[in-house]
Symmetry: C2
Subunit: 304 residues, 2 copies
C-alpha cells in the first residue's frame, strides 16, 4: 500500500495538548448539563446519570466527542458550535454501553471499575436510563446547526443498519448471509465513530463531499481502534498462557489507521494543521503513545 | 365549566370515514416501509418487526399517527407531507410498548393477543428492536419538514422529562416530590399524544402559537384517553366483583376531552371542518362510538 504524501510529511507543529485543554472542559460541561436536565422528580435516577456519564466518579476517555470537536476545529469552526453534537455522540455511546452491560446482553456488573447501571438501578432502570440518554441526544442534535440532517444520520447510526444491528448480530439474531452479517457486526463499533467525524464536519458547514470523506475516515478509525483493542486483549491472554498470541490484528489495525489518515488528504476544507490535529488524535485513539490523556488500561475494565 | 362556543355548534358535516380511508393506508404504508428498511442480514429480527408493528398479524388502532395526519389535514396540508412524522409517532409508541412488556417492566407475555417481542426474540432482541424503531423514527423526523425542531421536540417527548421519565416513576424510580412525580407519571401517556398533534402542526407549517395550542390539545386528549381507558378496566373489575366501581374517572376523562376540544377554538389556522375532523377523531379515541374503525376490546389485551 502506498501511503499518501501529506500524512508522511513532517509535522507542522500543532499544540495538541492545547487543543485537549480547550476541548475537554467543553465536553465535560456538555455532559454535566445533560445530568442537570434530568428532572428532580427522578430522585433515584439523576445521580446514576451522573456516574454513568462520568460527571461524578470515573470518566471515560471521551475520545469520540473529542473527535467531533477536532473535526470541527480542523475545518476552521469554533468549538462552541460543535458542542451539542459532540455531547450527543458521548450520550449515544454511553447509552449503548449501558445496554451492553445488561444481564441479557454481555452480563457485566462493572463499567470503568464501578458498578454498572443495572446494578445501581435494576434492569428496568438501566434500560430507561439508556433511552433517556438517547432522547437527550436527539434534543441536542435537533438544536445543532444542520439539525435535520444530523438527526437523520444519527438515526441510521444507532439503528438496525448500525449499532443496534451490529449488537443484534453479536447476540446471534443475524440471518444467513455471513458476509453481510460480518459487515453489520462491525457497525456496532464503527457507526458511531463515523458519525462523530461526520457530525463535526456538518456543524462546521462542510460540503457534502467533505462530510462523506470524513465519515469514511471515522469508519476506518473506528475499526482500527477495535482491532488494536482486541489485539491488546489477545496479547494479555497470551501473556497469561490462555490463548495464542499474534501480531496480525495489530498490524491490520495500524494499516487501517493509515488508510483512514490517507482519506484526510482528500478533504478540501482542511489545511495541514487540521490534518495533523486529526492524525494526532487518531494515533492516540488507537493507543500509540502521546500527549492525549490516556488512562492506564486495567484488566477486567472494558474499553471505553 | 363553560364550553367554548364552536365545539357546541352543530356539525358542518365532514366525511370522517373518507378521511380514515385516505389516512389509514398511508400509515400502513409508512410502517411497511419501516419493516422493509431492516437489513436482510437481520434474518431473525425482520419478521418480528413486521409483527410488532402489525404489518403482519394484528394491527393496533394506530390512532396516534392518524392524529398527526388529521392535524395536518385540519390545517390545510396534504397528508403526504405528514406521513414520515406520523410513522415516527407510531414507531415511538411501539418501541415503548415493547419495553413495557419486558419481564423487568410489566412482564407481559402478550400484546394484542400475540406473543410479545421478548417472547419471540428474547429480552436482548426485544430491547434492540425497540432501539431500532426509535432510530428509524429519528431518521424519518430528520427528513420531515421542520426536521430539526421535530427532532428536538421528539427528544423531549421520550426522554427523562417525558415517556422514559413517566415509566421510571411507574417502576418506582421517582424521588420525593409527589406532585412533581404525578405530573411526570402522566407524561408516560400524554407526551407522545401531545407530540403527535404538535408534529402534524409543524409539518403543516403552522405558526409557533398554533403548534403550542395543538400540543396542549394533544396533552388533554392523551390524559382523557388514559382516564377513560382506566375507567373501563375498573368497570370490568367491578362487574367481576374485584374492585369498587365508580364513574368518577370516566366523568373526569370526558371533562378533560371537552377542555382539549375547547383549545381547538383558539387555533388560528384551522376552520370549522378542521375542528370537526379533530373532534370526531378525539371522541373515537376516548371510546365514544362512531365511524372510526375501533376494534372490540377483549379482556387481557392491553390498550393499544
Amino acid at each position: 500500500m502506498t501511503l499518501p504524501a501529506r500524512s508522511l510529511r513532517s509535522p507542522v507543529g500543532i499544540d495538541f495538548a492545547a487543543f485537549v485543554g480547550r476541548a475537554r472542559p467543553r465536553v465535560d460541561r456538555g455532559l454535566a448539563d445533560a445530568v442537570e436536565a434530568v428532572p428532580a422528580a427522578l430522585g433515584t435516577v439523576r445521580p446514576v446519570v451522573g456516574r454513568t456519564l462520568g460527571v461524578r466518579g470515573r470518566a471515560g476517555r471521551r475520545w469520540r466527542p473529542m473527535l467531533t470537536l477536532a473535526v470541527a476545529e480542523a475545518l476552521g469552526a469554533d468549538l462552541e458550535v460543535a458542542l451539542d453534537a459532540a455531547t450527543a455522540v458521548e450520550l449515544t455511546h454511553t447509552a449503548s454501553l449501558i445496554l451492553d452491560d445488561l444481564p441479557c446482553m454481555d452480563d457485566s456488573g462493572e463499567r470503568r471499575g464501578e458498578p454498572a447501571a443495572h446494578v445501581l438501578l435494576g434492569q428496568s432502570g438501566a434500560i430507561l436510563l439508556s433511552i433517556g440518554l438517547l432522547a437527550r441526544a436527539a434534543e441536542l442534535l435537533g438544536r445543532s446547526r444542520d439539525g435535520a440532517e444530523l438527526s437523520e444520520e444519527w438515526g441510521r447510526t444507532f439503528g438496525f443498519g448500525g449499532m443496534a444491528g451490529g449488537q443484534a448480530v453479536d447476540v446471534a439474531l443475524g440471518g444467513d448471509s455471513r458476509g453481510a452479517m460480518r459487515r453489520l457486526y462491525r457497525k456496532k463499533t464503527t457507526a458511531l465513530v463515523a458519525f462523530a467525524a461526520d457530525a463535526g464536519a456538518r456543524v462546521a458547514g462542510a460540503h457534502q463531499e467533505d462530510c462523506e470523506r470524513l465519515y469514511a475516515f471515522g469508519d476506518d478509525l473506528g475499526w482500527a481502534y477495535q482491532l488494536v483493542d482486541d489485539a491488546h486483549d489477545l496479547e494479555e491472554d497470551a501473556a497469561l498462557g490462555r490463548a495464542p498470541g499474534g501480531r496480525a490484528p495489530l498490524r491490520q489495525g495500524r494499516r487501517l489507521l493509515q488508510r483512514g489518515l490517507g482519506r484526510l488528504d482528500e478533504v478540501l476544507g482542511i489545511d495541514e494543521r487540521g490534518v495533523e490535529l486529526l492524525s494526532t488524535l487518531s494515533r492516540e485513539v488507537v493507543r500509540v503513545p502521546g500527549e492525549f490523556p490516556l488512562r492506564p488500561r486495567r484488566r477486567g475494565v472494558q474499553p471505553c
